[in-house]
Structure formats: C-alpha cells, structure tokens
Symmetry: C2
DNA sequence: TATAAACCCGACTAAAATAGTCAAGTATCA
DNA sequence: TGATACTTGACTATTTTAGTCGGGTTTATA
C-alpha cells in the first residue's frame, strides 16, 4: 500500500505554489528547482490540475500558474482526484453484484476494505492546502 | 494508493481459517477452492505467515494450518507485516536526515505523509481477526 | 509398505503500473 | 525577434505485482 509519486508531487508542488500565491504566477521551472521534481513530469501533473480547475495558467514570459480557488477550498481529495491518484482497496467492481472471487456474493473481506477506503478518504477530505501551508510556516518559525 | 492482492488474500485466507478453527487443521486446497485463490500463491503467503508465527502447520495427509494465537490477538498489522504489505507514504528514508529531494531538510509534505501513515496504521492496529469473523457472522444472519 | 494428501522451497516470468523522458509545438512579454 | 513558459501526445525504462512451475519432504491410512 503505497503512495505514488504523482500524488506526492502534485501536493508538494501545490503547497509550494500556495506559499507564493500573491500577485505573480509561479513558473514550473521554479517549482522544479526548489522541490527537485522533473520539469517534464510537473508539466504532466499541472496539465491535469488545470483541467480540473485547481490552477490557472498564465502563458508567455513571466507566466506560470496560480491557484484557481482559495487554498482553504482545495482539499487533498480534489488534488488526488485531479491527478488520478485514487485509493483502491477492494478488488471487485464496487457497483457490481459479483465479488472479487467471481461469485455472486461479496468476499469475506469486502466490507473491511470498504471501511478502510472510507477511513483513508476521510483524512483526505479534511486536509486543505491552507492547512498544509500553515503547518509549514509554523514549523519554520 | 492501492492494496496489493498479497495482503488482501492473506487476510481473506485467515478469516476463512479462523472460522473453522476448532480441532482440525484446514488445508490450503480447501481455502483455495472456497475463496478462489491460486493454491501456489497461497503457499507463498502461508509460508510467511508461519515464519511470523501467526499460523502453525500440520504436515502429512489430513494436514493443513491452524491459528497459532487466539483470533483476538491477531491484528491486521501483524498480518500485513508478515506478508510484507507495508504502508509506505513517505519517499525518503524515515531515519535519514535527508529529505526526498536530496536536501538536508525534509520536504514540504513529509509531515503530511507521516500523519497519513499513522492514520492508516491506526486502522490496522485496531482490527483483529476476531472482529472480522464476528462481522461476517452477523452479516450472514 | 505404498500411496496420496498435504506442506515446503526457490526460481522463474508475464503483465501491469509507475515514473519518468522526449519532441514538437503555441502564446506572450520585452 | 528572441526568450520564457505553457501545451500536447507519444514513447520507454524500470519496478512491482501476481502469479506459475518444478522439484522436493512429511505423514496418515489403506
Ligand atoms: S473485495 Fe469486493 S468482493 Fe472481494
Ligand atoms: S517525503 Fe520525507 S522528505 Fe519528502
């Protein structure tokens, strides 16, 4: 059970972005240098974030990205959804009547994994980008 | 962020085993048939469970496996640990001073992932095999 | 004592997922 | 007109996962 680097980087980059979120857009190049993430990879990630309207792009020189909502309103859930970092614990299709064993009843552990999935998603629902920025500022002091 | 089938199967097989845990050992062949898990794969899994003293093996005809502790004392944590299904959210080495970016400070999100890891592990620490068997019996009624 | 049921062990492999790279653009500012 | 930065899509190497396979050894029982 591991977090992928796509999700990890997406959040990391957005925290970086949120910290500079005053007037000027922040370029991916800067984020890449500060956070040590490949520029090409960041571009993939931000393309998705833009399509889900989490960030806005500003093209041309001095361009970059800015948040499209207030940091308070961006939850981890939204970020993860945008970059397809999904929590998947059950094996079966959730809406199907069939279990992961192919039988017509759900397997012995189905319910457990479902609980787990909720447990994890609760964590993501609660944390906002603002929380993360604050946490970081406090730690820095 | 997904659960692997090794962890999923390990728990599934143990729940099956725990339900029959009276006198006779349960053969992997039976579990394989009931739960639809490859026998060869089950053998790998039970080999690990045995080494971590979660189950005991009984060799020869009529052999199989029995629990090595009371179901109440076997937590999901123990099972997952036994089959190397580990929760890994941070990228960096935890004990190292270096961050995942190679720098000497931990990255902006390190603390967040650490919290997440704890959050997930809490869930695993609380659930015992007994809970799972009970849950299943209740649902069956 | 032969046979079959079951555990035991290590090596191997196909498929999937991950973590990127690369190439060829377009928009905008100075 | 150059430089900076976003945009897009295809491609690929690596790693992880989810098994398979082939050979054992042990033990109950007929
Ligand atoms: S995980 Fe849903 S039926 Fe097994
Ligand atoms: S995850 Fe630990 S430093 Fe980034």
């Amino acid at each position: 059970m591991r977090l992928t680097s796509k999700g990890r980087y997406a959040v990391m980059a957005l925290v970086d972005l949120a910290r500079f979120n005053n007037i000027n857009p922040v370029s991916l190049r800067d984020i890449s240098l500060r956070q040590g993430i490949s520029l090409d990879y960041l571009e993939q990630i931000f393309s998705k974030l833009r399509k889900k309207e989490i960030v806005q792009s500003v093209r041309g020189t001095q361009g970059g990205y800015i948040l499209n909502k207030r940091a308070k309103e961006i939850k981890l859930t939204n970020i993860f959804e945008a970059v397809d970092e999904k929590v998947k614990t059950v094996q079966c299709k959730k809406d199907s009547k069939k279990g992961c064993n192919g039988k017509l009843t759900k397997c012995l552990t189905h319910n457990l994994w479902d609980e787990l999935e909720n447990h994890i998603n609760n964590f993501f629902d609660e944390k906002s980008l603002e929380d993360l920025v604050k946490d970081n500022n406090e730690r820095r002091v």
